[in-house]
């Protein structure tokens, strides 16, 4: 599946549509996508890839964008930045894509930030590093929530629970290091002291030694910031070490597989994330509810596995792009960028987006809720 093109059905529709509709430019709108479908970030890239295909199929069945079918060209970068650069240039210069969504990891996004900026092609990244949109680059956006919002929600909850002394452990990935830096930056603002703060190898398979050291530091809570399976291992190791400290995870934990892997040790874990995984519990008045329920249902029907917030990033990137092209009425890059910057309370899986020329992430504190695990299921955390 070199270029995962869905050209055949799309072209067929285009032909049918073109003879119906006026002589409108029948050629499809090409959108590039760079995901780490295999390799170290496969747990994020694979759901993103599957979601993107699902969303594009849906758009094309609904008549495409501006009457033109969408051709999604997905490249598997295996989370390596040199491949991301090569694919970005190929998508821009050869495939002449209208915009690029992804990449999966922060490292890749930073590598191609300049490439897209200089080429004047909109890039909507699915990675969360703050530096992607700070300093703001005209053509570069990102859909995952800001790390510091996640941190501030964590610290607010800790303040409510009277927790003041914590230990921080994070995987040595861009995601892990980014979170650890934000945790350390905002700790004093919320009166939290970090007794111990350390990085572990992203494919660590046993963390009992590290957690014993953390436990010896006499912490009331442990914050684990990672997207790897280590999240379930930390949970199990803490219970095996009979640690009484409360375990907080990052929004990387928002994938039911990690709960299943941690089994009973997952009970009571608290973590902030988007509303996707607790869509069912949302009041009907919540604008995101319908959208989240539909995404959950469609994804589960197609791939018989539960949707995760990572797949949600691809969903948001594509729907924002579609909304921008439609409101701009054209696929001209500058018009698309202005249209995105003018998007107000746009409902996505990660939250309600409010973009602006200065804020290319568009998500605020209210895009996040605190979630916990009860009887192996995610549920809204309503205080102690």
């Amino acid at each position: 599946m070199r270029i995962r093109s869905i050209a055949k059905p799309a072209v067929l529709c285009a032909v049918v549509l073109s003879c119906l509709s006026p002589a409108y430019a029948a050629d499809p709108i090409k959108i590039g996508a760079i995901f780490g479908v295999t390799g170290p970030a496969a747990y994020l890239g694979a759901p993103e890839d599957r979601t993107a295909r699902m969303v594009v199929d849906g758009i094309n069945k609904g008549g495409g964008i501006l009457g033109r079918q969408v051709e999604l060209i997905v490249k598997d970068s295996g989370a390596s930045s040199e491949k991301a650069i090569s694919f970005a240039k190929q998508l821009i210069e050869e495939e002449n894509v209208v915009a690029i969504i992804g990449p999966t990891t922060s490292g890749e996004s930073m590598a191609i930030k300049d490439v897209c900026e200089k080429a004047g092609i909109p890039l909507i990244s699915c990675a969360s590093a703050e530096t992607i949109v700070d300093p703001v680059a005209k053509y570069v956006f990102k859909v995952p929530q800001k790390d510091n919002y996640i941190v501030e929600w964590l610290y607010r909850t800790m303040n409510k629970l009277g927790i003041a002394k914590i230990g921080v452990i994070a995987s040595n990935t861009g995601f892990g290091n980014g979170g650890k830096a934000q945790l350390e930056k905002y700790a004093s603002k919320y009166g939290i002291t970090i007794a111990i703060s350390e990085v572990y190898d992203s494919n660590a398979t046993d963390l009992t030694a590290l957690l014993a050291k953390v436990n010896a530091a006499g912490v009331q809570a442990v914050v684990n910031w990672s997207i790897e399976p280590a999240q379930s291992i930390v949970a199990k190791n803490m219970r095996q070490l009979k640690m009484t400290a409360q375990l907080f995870q990052s929004h990387g934990f928002a994938n039911i597989k990690y709960v299943q892997a941690a089994g009973e040790a997952a009970e009571g874990i608290i973590f902030p994330c988007g509303r996707l995984i607790v869509a069912g519990e949302l009041p009907d008045s919540n604008p995101q509810k319908k959208l989240l329920a539909k995404y959950n249902a469609d994804y589960e029907a197609l791939y018989n596995e539960e949707a995760s917030t990572f797949g949600g990033h691809a969903y948001d990137a594509l729907s924002i792009l579609k909304a921008a092209i439609e409101s701009a009425g054209s696929t001209d890059p500058d018009k698309i960028v202005r249209a995105i910057e003018n998007l107000r309370n746009f409902s996505g899986t990660a939250g309600i987006f409010n973009f602006s020329p200065a804020d290319h992430n568009g998500l605020l504190m209210d895009s996040i809720v605190m979630v916990t695990v009860k009887k192996g299921k995610f549920t809204l955390y309503r205080g102690n």
Partner: protein, 352 residues
């Protein structure tokens, strides 16, 4: 292999350096230049490994480590901001000798940094130094131990670049400045300089091949080939086998470091992925499919395989393809003549 026949591949490579850009522009496929330029640099690193594995018969599973040392050292040194030390003697000396560059970082703050040329030179020297330092003990080892030691070295480099915040951790370093060569000509990924950079890359590759073709035909080259076919016999003809192995090991490291430096400045960034074990395995696969002791074979294999991989032709089976190559090349490669002689020797039995 006497005569000018062995210089044909060098000539072909140099010709491509100049002819390809206009040709590709004419056929509206100029966008291929990016991936062809990147493939040239990766092929350069494979050439270095071919000298070590093919001609000196020593295996290295750490070639990507040296590539990363080159790339990371050059980008780190050229990005470090010296303005806080502006008053220091050393910085004044650099300024005096015109080696300082004024610029602005992403936020527009004025930055004083060393000229990328100095950074590039330091990076290559650093790689050569590390290769010489670890090469001495490592090359006393044989077979599995040598493979394991070089594999261990590669992983240590990968863990260090991935774990160190100063080197960008898992995100790597980005915003690496271009490497100016002549006024108006620089190693950079700018779209305007695409054709020029292609020519630079393929000329560097041609020069790299030329140097090795000369070496193989020279006195030192003969000694290397003797070393590969039989270390003890080579020693008896007066060849200091450990120094020769070390020299080739350092040359291989320098080739990888130069490739790392140039590609990093071309891409404008480098990630820890450049140092991981899978990358080293790719270089080994390319040398193996190129025919072990076949410089032009390695060059062609390096260009083709990297080009296809960078274009995403293999899609999600990118790693699998290199795995299949390794197994097939080893299963169907001729067992090599030395096997024959060894069997003969065992039957004869040593007398006396």
């Amino acid at each position: 292999m006497a005569g000018l026949k062995r210089y044909l591949p060098v000539l072909a490579c140099a010709l491509c350096a100049f002819l390809a850009p206009p040709l590709l522009a004419a056929t509206k496929t100029a966008y291929l230049l990016t991936q062809l330029t990147m493939s040239a640099y990766y092929a350069l690193a494979s050439l270095g490994l071919c000298a070590l594995m093919g001609y000196a018969g020593q295996i290295s599973l750490g070639q990507a480590g040296f590539f990363a040392i080159g790339g990371y050292a050059s980008s780190f040194i050229s990005k470090v901001d010296l303005s806080p030390f502006a008053s220091g003697g050393f910085v004044k000396f650099l300024g005096f000798s015109g080696l300082l560059v004024r610029g602005a970082d992403a936020y527009g703050k004025a930055v004083l940094s060393i000229s990328p040329w100095v950074a590039c030179l330091c990076a290559v020297l650093l790689a050569a130094g590390i290769a010489a330092f670890i090469g001495t003990p490592v090359l006393r080892l044989k077979g599995h131990y040598l493979a394991m030691a070089t594999l261990g070295f590669g992983i240590i480099i990968e863990r260090i670049v991935r774990g160190t915040q100063g080197l960008g951790g898992a995100d790597g370093l980005s915003g690496v400045p271009p490497l100016p060569i002549l006024p108006g000509l620089a190693v950079t990924g700018e779209r305007a300089a695409r054709a020029a950079n292609f020519t630079i890359a393929w000329l560097v590759l041609a020069l790299g091949l030329l140097a090795l073709v000369n070496l193989v035909g020279s006195r030192a080259g003969r000694a290397l080939r003797a070393l590969r076919d039989g270390e003890e016999a080579a020693g008896a003809t007066g060849i200091d086998t450990s120094r020769y192995k070390l020299n080739v090991f350092v040359i291989g490291a320098v080739y990888a470091a130069v490739a790392g430096v140039l590609l990093t400045h071309y891409n404008g960034s480098i990630g820890p992925g450049e140092a991981n074990f899978a990358k080293s395995v790719r270089y080994v696969a390319i040398v193996a499919v190129g025919g072990m002791a076949n410089l032009s074979g390695t060059l062609v294999a390096g260009l083709v395989l990297n080009f296809l991989s960078l274009r995403g032709v293999f899609g999600r089976f990118d790693d699998a393809v290199f795995g299949i190559i390794l197994v097939l090349v080893m299963v169907f490669a001729p067992a090599g003549k030395e096997r024959g002689l060894q069997v003969f020797r065992r039957r004869k039995g040593a007398g006396g």
